[in-house]
């Protein structure tokens, strides 16, 4: 069963090259057939792209929470999707009250700010509690242990909120100034989509600056490099970790409201799939890397929006959108085969 080392490398390389060529061929053929087919107008493509971008920026925002926590603790916080849900679901009741009193459409900007604040507050609280109760006692345990805890916490939170608020799907009230569209470079963009994309971009840039420029941000990076040395350097490791969870929670809370504004509805299960997708995005971009997570989110969103139509219509696949997850996960697998650390991650093997 043993091969000589150099030989195996060459076999692997040949397989990779063949695989890559095949892949390019399949994609090229599908895309050209689709474009020749002419089912979609240019306007339709543009609308698919904006949809994908809006979804992608939300994934990016949620992915921040995964990537930050992973960068410092090397654990997959599976319950992060539920952190996102908790804020959005709680803010629904505030939105409903504001809508009933008419305040929502009288003072839309203040209202959105209130919603964001409530949602961020709830999500941050849940994130901090999660760290304190479920993860802190397990620091230093083998990696599988916090992962299972995270899965357990995810189920627990999901069903707690189901018990609290019920299993019904709730429609977020419409905000009048966000209905309608604007034209940007001939792209017809919904105002709600614009808010989502702009809001997410702003928050990601703010986070990037925070991590690169502030003292706390530097402390976070230091703890990610080496906890013991950081502690010796006078950094309060516990505090840094709590801060990390809090920031992840805040962004997830913001993403929750933006998600609800974009997709109009919330329920207790809404966090699960976006959570998995956002984690996929973080891995795709190179986990532990903020820019990578943002990039991964956008790529994943665009893939879900555009790829089924672009790639599969040409092959006459019925109901192409059903297969969107197949495309996204396949892309993830292929990216990892060619670049094991993700798009922007380091390719070094496990350092632990």
């Amino acid at each position: 069963m043993r091969f000589a080392l150099p030989e195996r490398w060459s076999v692997q390389r040949i397989v990779k090259i063949l695989l890559g060529a095949l892949l390019l061929f399949v994609v090229f053929k599908g895309v050209s057939a689709t474009i020749a087919d002419g089912k979609f107008t240019a306007a339709a493509w543009k609308s698919l792209i904006t949809t994908g971008l809006a979804l992608g920026s939300l994934y990016a925002l949620i992915a921040m929470g995964y990537t930050l926590v992973y960068g410092i603790l090397f654990i997959i916080n599976f319950a992060h999707g539920e952190v996102f849900m908790s804020g959005a679901f709680t803010a629904f009741f505030v939105a409903r009250t504001l809508n009933n009193s008419g305040f929502l459409n009288d003072q839309p900007i203040i209202s959105i700010a209130i919603l964001l604040l409530v949602s961020m507050l709830v999500s941050t609280t849940i994130a901090i509690l999660l760290e304190r109760i479920a993860y802190r006692p397990l620091r230093g345990a083998p990696r599988l242990v916090p992962l299972i805890t995270a899965i357990g916490a995810s189920l627990f939170l999901q069903n707690t909120f189901r018990g609290l608020y019920g299993a019904k799907v709730r429609a977020y009230p419409e905000i009048d100034i966000l209905s309608g569209t604007v034209n940007i470079f001939s792209f017809v963009v919904g105002k709600d989509q614009l808010l989502v994309i702009a809001g997410a971009a702003l928050l990601v840039v703010a986070l990037y600056l925070f991590i690169e420029r502030t003292k706390t941000g530097r402390a976070m990076r230091a703890v990610g490099e080496d906890k013991e040395i950081s502690a010796l350097m006078g950094i309060d490791v516990d505090k840094v970790i709590v801060t990390t969870f809090a920031i992840g929670g805040m962004l997830a809370g913001a993403a929750g409201v933006l998600w609800a504004i974009n997709f109009k509805q919330v329920d207790f299960y809404m966090g699960f799939l976006p959570g998995i997708k956002a984690f996929t995005a973080a891995v795709l971009g190179g986990i532990g890397n903020v820019v990578g997570a943002a990039l991964g989110g956008l790529i994943l969103g665009l893939l879900e929006g555009v790829a089924p139509a672009l790639l599969l219509t040409g092959y006459d696949v019925p109901s192409p959108n059903q297969l969107k997850d197949v495309i996204s996960f396949s892309v993830l697998v292929f990216v990892l085969i060619f670049k094991p650390g993700g798009i922007l991650g380091s390719d070094e093997p496990d350092k632990v």
């Binding site: 107008t41 306007a43 339709a44 799907v169 709730r170 429609a171 109009k264 699960f272 799939l273 959108n321």
Partner: protein, 414 residues
């Protein structure tokens, strides 16, 4: 000192295993001794009799989805069953009692639930299942055991397909073929629309309905411009909507369930190319929960098909509904009347097939089945019911279409 103890242990094991084997062999003979019933009909019947001793209640099983996300559907049916039992009164001096099981709307749940009911030998018949996917395995299990299973809300065509029908299975629900076709007819003839597209969610129910709709619509001269699908749990419907919007269909049919149906309606309203498109769905969305999930503004004007509950006779409006509302509040689904009819049919059949022996009752299982299948021109709430040999008791079911007007359902067709 050591050896004897070890030997005694082995000996003990051996004896125990012998006892076990002996007991196992004993079993058939012990059940045989119970077969000395007073009526010859029971011995002749392939599956024997249900025996109801003096003073005991006749037991009926229900196998509906009563826990979890889809419980609104199953509980509504269960209430219908309960009301039917309450209104029917005693049979030959025996009251009727219900044993309720959950089927979870999954094949696994249907299997476990059906096994649980079948292993209780005093259960005469079962009302269920709610979901067709649970019904497939359940019909097989109950038929193997000779227990009548009648469903108020299974709509999958395969269940009463002659090639696959299970001998003890019946239903009062309409076949999906009827509902999908009725919607296509309504859209083509009454609305006069020529092009339509469909979206389903990968559930057997939605996939079947949209396919029947598409086939009927095409055969009546309409054109299907696209068929798309989403996944249960999706929230971003825009790609699928944009895909069907490319051909600007006049009608978009998405017979899915509450959550995805709500998202489709809400996001469909703002998809370019669907501005003038009319939306339609089926009975999976025919509940106030869906209007809430979509938002009343987005739901406005949508056409939803469902069983026709305007039965003409006053019984439903005057007696059934008040009894239902008093005990359980507003109905959460549309199959309570089907459940009521199914239960009453079962009770009628029991009355017919049962052999009275003093104070006790013997119900031969095959005779009960035959009595069920012999039901003809029974005037139920949901129509005049006649069971065919494949277990479809409501082949002439009428489908009505409602439209959402000011956030409420208004019946507009036929």
């Amino acid at each position: 000192m050591r050896k004897p103890r070890w030997f005694s242990f082995v000996a003990l094991l051996f004896v125990l295993s012998l006892v076990a084997a002996a007991c196992a062999d004993d079993e058939p003979s012990s059940t045989d001794s119970g077969g000395d019933s007073p009526t010859a009909a029971c011995d002749e019947d392939e599956f024997g009799c249900v025996e109801v001793a003096a003073g005991d209640a006749i037991q009926l099983g229900t196998l509906l989805v009563i826990v979890g996300e889809n419980s609104a559907l199953g509980l509504d049916s269960q209430y219908g069953v309960q009301i039917a039992v309450d209104m029917y009164g005693d049979i030959e001096g025996h009251s009727v009692e219900l044993v309720n099981e959950d089927e979870g709307c999954t094949p696994e749940g249907g299997t476990t639930g059906a096994r649980s009911l079948v292993s209780n030998e005093s259960i005469a018949a079962v009302i269920g299942t709610s979901c067709s996917s649970a019904g497939e395995p359940a019909a097989q299990i109950t038929s193997d055991a000779g227990v009548v299973l009648i469903s108020p809300s299974n709509t999958a065509p395969s269940l009463t397909d002659p090639a696959t029908h299970q001998p003890f299975y019946l239903r009062t629900a309409h076949n999906d073929k009827i509902q999908g076709a009725a919607m296509a007819q309504f859209v083509g003839e009454d609305l006069g629309l020529k092009t339509a597209a469909t979206i389903h969610d990968g559930s057997p129910y939605a996939e079947q309905l949209q396919q029947v709709f598409a086939d009927t619509f095409t055969s009546e001269g309409g054109e299907i411009t696209g068929q798309e699908a989403i996944l249960v749990g999706d929230t971003d419907m825009k790609p699928a909507l944009t895909s069907v919007a490319a051909a600007k269909p006049e009608f978009l049919y998405f017979p899915v369930f509450v959550a995805e149906g709500g998202a489709l309606a809400a996001q469909g309203r703002e998809t370019a190319g669907l501005e003038d498109t009319k939306f339609g769905g089926a009975d999976g969305m025919l509940t106030p929960d869906w209007v809430e999930a979509a938002g009343a503004d987005n739901a406005e004007g949508t056409y939803l098909s469902g069983p026709d509950l305007a039965f003409g006779g006053g019984f439903y409006e005057d007696e059934f509904l008040p009894a239902y509302e008093e005990a359980y509040g507003d109905p959460t689904a549309v199959f309570h009347a089907h459940a009521f009819d199914a239960t009453t049919m079962v009770l009628n059949a029991i009355k017919e097939a049962a052999i009275v022996d003093g104070d006790s009752l013997f119900i031969p299982r095959t005779a009960l089945r035959d009595a069920m299948f012999a039901t003809s021109d029974y005037a139920g709430i949901t129509g005049t019911l006649t069971c065919d040999e494949n277990g479809d008791c409501n082949p002439g079911a009428t489908i009505s279409v409602s439209q959402v007007v000011d956030g409420a359902f208004e019946r507009i067709w036929p």
